[in-house]
Every structure is written in structure tokens, then in C-alpha cells.
Assembly symmetry: C2
């Protein structure tokens, strides 16, 4: 390797993060630890929390005024999915024409459609991101610089996305440790409905159907199966609403599987139940 392959400057002079919670804080921590950004600014809704994030060493400067991001090369919006579009627009108004905007939201179709005009031709470009990493914990106090390490991050460019901007965004997430995959916004939402949104709904329905007196006789299997139901409802309601049609399709498919189990139970059909459990085990073992 030639010396020129070792960057003397960080990849980004200034990184802006709107929403310095668990995800935004972890992006800041990872960018800091991996020397991805020379300076990190945070935008939030309360001065106090931002001051605490500065105090914690996660960001260099915080403000409730989006103008703090004026010099940023790249901004990541880490707010709930029903707030992302407006937060991206606010940044686009103050950031330079050559800057790049992205997000960390769990749904992409509605968002990328809404922001399709931010194509980078006459202003900053927006390309959607979704790092498949998280926690049921909330707040930057639980930020983890390794949260994205070897985790998938899905990028969802529109068909007219600038390849140079795509390469920049891919470099950014790769530098944070993530493994980048590319999907259309619609492909992303269909797949995530099955692998994330439906599992969340199912875990919540299972937790919701428990009796208080069941707590005493619960074991690790139940705790694992319902773990994600402890997630923040305020984050999940808009995810459900933004992707309701794909989730409904996934739910129908799941209910068809449930019915097969239910029929097997009612008919006392051991062979049918065995076959269903073997198929489920085969698919589960495939997840690693």
C-alpha cells in the first residue's frame, strides 16, 4: 500500500446528527472512535440534553437551531420516522449544495418518495439509510461506538441517485463498521416488514396476551420471544403506519402459518406438526 492510501484528514470535516439518542449518539461515538469526522455537531429539541451530550464527549457542539449544521459535509437524521422528512428539509435549507443528507429510519418508501426532489442537482442530495442495529434502551447514555460493527446497513437510492454521492454514503457507513447492502425503497420496506416490523408486532401481541399471573412461570424462551416488545411505542407506531400495507401482507402470511399449526393441533395430527416444526427449524437455523 502506498502512503497516499492512509488518509491524513478524516473522511468528513464536519458531521451533523439530528436526534442525538441511542442511534444518533452511537453514530457520533463510532465516528469519533474511528476518526471518521473531524467535528461533530448535534441538533436536538432541548438545549439541556445537547449540553449533556457535549459533556459526555459525543458531540463537539449542540444546538436546537439547525444553522449549527451549515458547514457540515454530511448529516444523518436519527429522529422517529414521522419526523425525518421535515428534519431533512430543515437541514437541506442551511447546508451547502455539495453536502449529503441521510437518515437512519426503519421505513423508506414513503420517505424517499417525499424527498425525491432532493436529488443533488440543485442543492444537497438525500439518500436513505437504514442501519439494522438498535437496542430497546433509549438515550445517548447507552450509545455504543460498536453498535454498527458488522451489522447490515441498507442504502435505498432512488433510480436517479448520483453514483458519487452513493459511494460517499457507502464509505461513511463502512467506516462506522457496517456492511452495506443496496435495495430500492420498496424492496427495503417489503423485506423489513417480514424481518423486523412483523416480528415486533408479533412479540408485542404475545406480550399483550399474557396474564399478570403468568410472570411467575415464565422462562428464557418467553423472554427472548418478547424482548423487542420492550421497545419504545412512540418509535414503533409511525413505523407501523408508514409500512402498514407491507406489514399487513406479512401478517396475512404469518396468520396462514398459524392456521396450519392450529389445524394440526385440532386434528391431533402429529405428522403435520412435525413437518411444520422441521420447516421452521430449517429456516431459523438458516439465520445463524
Amino acid at each position: 500500500m502506498s502512503e497516499s492510501s492512509v488518509p491524513s484528514e478524516p473522511f468528513l470535516a464536519t458531521l451533523a446528527i439530528t436526534g442525538v439518542g441511542l442511534i444518533g449518539g452511537s453514530i457520533a461515538a463510532a465516528a469519533r472512535q474511528r476518526h471518521v469526522a473531524g467535528r461533530i455537531v448535534g441538533i436536538g429539541r432541548t438545549e439541556k440534553r445537547l449540553a449533556e451530550a457535549v459533556e459526555a464527549g459525543l458531540i463537539d457542539e449542540g444546538s436546537t437551531d439547525v444553522a449549527v449544521a451549515a458547514d457540515a459535509d454530511l448529516a444523518v437524521v436519527c429522529t422517529p420516522v414521522d419526523r425525518i422528512a421535515q428534519d431533512v428539509r430543515a437541514l437541506a435549507e442551511v447546508m451547502s449544495e455539495t453536502s449529503l443528507l441521510t437518515d437512519a429510519g426503519s421505513t423508506k418508501r414513503a420517505l424517499c418518495q417525499e424527498l425525491a426532489d432532493l436529488d443533488g442537482v440543485h442543492g444537497p442530495a438525500f439518500i436513505g439509510s437504514h442501519p439494522l442495529a438498535g437496542s430497546t434502551r433509549q438515550g445517548f447514555e447507552h450509545a455504543d461506538p460498536d453498535l454498527f460493527d458488522r451489522k447490515v446497513c441498507v442504502l435505498t437510492p432512488q433510480s436517479n441517485a448520483n453514483p458519487t454521492e452513493m459511494a460517499r454514503l457507502e464509505t461513511f457507513w463502512t467506516a462506522l463498521g457496517a456492511v452495506v447492502h443496496r435495495r430500492t425503497p420498496n424492496e427495503h420496506d417489503q423485506a423489513l416488514a417480514r424481518t423486523s416490523h412483523l416480528p415486533h408486532l408479533v412479540a408485542a401481541a404475545l406480550a399483550g396476551s399474557l396474564s399478570e399471573e403468568d410472570t411467575e412461570l415464565s422462562a428464557t424462551g418467553l423472554r427472548d420471544t418478547t424482548r423487542i416488545a420492550a421497545g419504545d411505542p412512540a418509535l414503533w407506531v409511525p413505523i407501523f403506519q408508514h409500512n402498514s400495507s407491507a406489514i399487513t401482507t406479512a401478517l396475512d402470511r404469518f396468520q396462514a402459518q398459524l392456521k396450519e399449526f392450529s389445524d394440526g393441533l385440532r386434528r391431533d395430527d402429529g405428522c403435520a406438526l412435525q413437518k411444520l416444526l422441521e420447516e421452521a427449524k430449517r429456516k431459523r437455523d438458516g439465520l445463524g
Copy 2:
């Protein structure tokens, strides 16, 4: 404390275990490590596996002939739930009148009814046990002496159970580290349908409804939610069959919850979804 409270002899001279797999092997390992039994004999179906369990130091002697348990004070049957009754009967024929028989099966109503005549009046007594501990791994190679440590073990005595035998059984499981709870066989099966059997069915139906191409975009939430679907189908089919009526009741209740989510999605009713997720989170947080 007087010296007499320190036992000079192990609680059991001889412990017999039928089915030396993950659970049976872990009982042996725990009994060995905690000096609960002076001698441990294993009964199984293949000489080779039993010889390997002796070689591994889990049991002192193994045999495919139940007569090896003739001198045992206590026997634990750790075979799949559709084999427990016959394995208990086989032991009852060779063991002494003062001996105690139990099991480690996940369903109790059918079993305890079938073995109700083993009340200890004219021969060995049987009292059902269900340690709420396990693993998706199989085989005594994964035996863990701490598998029962601070885990719940449910004892399900019939109404005519001898209090002395109950106390003995409670002492046994407590000595292995477990926290003993007492339920009627029917109460046990109703509760476990909700806290274990339904979650297993739901995890399997969720895994079963995945597409092969979903693997790439799956995250830890999906893996947690479906983890138990990797369990051995041969163990779970008889559990489903033995407890089908209680599982069907629990499944109906779960499906009613699913329908509420589904209605909320179709109506785009954010308030309803928020309420459902909050209730689920409250119950999940209660599991600790």
C-alpha cells in the same frame, strides 16, 4: 448452627436418570457438583451413548436395562413427554417401595392422571416436576451443572400426594439450585401453554413464514424472536399434542390480540396502536 445440620452423607445414596441428554445430563452434572447424590446411574436406549456419559464423568454406571436403578432412592425421567409414563412404570417395577419417582416433562395433566395410582401407598410414589430450564442444544455434551441455578421448577402433586415425599422432592430440586413452585397439573398446563408452548408455536410460525431471501436483511430482533424455533421438533410435537386444548385457548387469545393490531393498521389508527404497544411493553417489562 449445630454440626448436625451439616450432612455427612449426600442427600441421596443413589440417583437414577432415565434419558441422559441435555436435561438428564445437566441434572447429573448438578447433582455431582453439589454433592446431592453419592452415585448416579443412567438408563438409556444405546449402550454406546451411556458409555460415553460414563466416560464424560456424568454418571457412574449406565445401562439399557432399567434394573440398574433397583437401588436408587430417587429417579428422574428425562425423556420426551410421550415416553415418560412408560419409563416411569418401568422404573416403578424395579425400585423399592420407599423410592420416589419424578420427571422433567413440559406437560403435566395427562401424565399425572395416567400415573395417579403411583401414590406411594403400595409402591414407589410419583410426583411430577417441570424445571423451566433448557436449551436448543441437544445431548449430554452440552450438560451444564448450573442449568437449574435460580430457575423455577414447578412441582405438580396430585391432591393425595404424601407431604413427606413432596418435601423430599422439593429438597432435591432446591439442592440443584432451583426455586420450587407448586401448582396442580392442570394449573401448570394452562400457565405453560401461555408462557412456553404458545411462544414456541408463534416463534415457529414466524420462522416458517420467512422467505429464504429475507436472511440477508435480518437483525437481532428477528433472531431473538425466533430463537426457540430451533428446538428439536421431536420433543415439541408431543408437548403440543399433550396440551393441545390449553394451547388452542392461548392461541385464540393471541389471535384476538393480533386482530387488534391488524385492525389498527388497516384503520391507520395511531392511538389504538400506541395503546396496544404500551400495554405490551408494560407486560414485557414486568417479566424482567
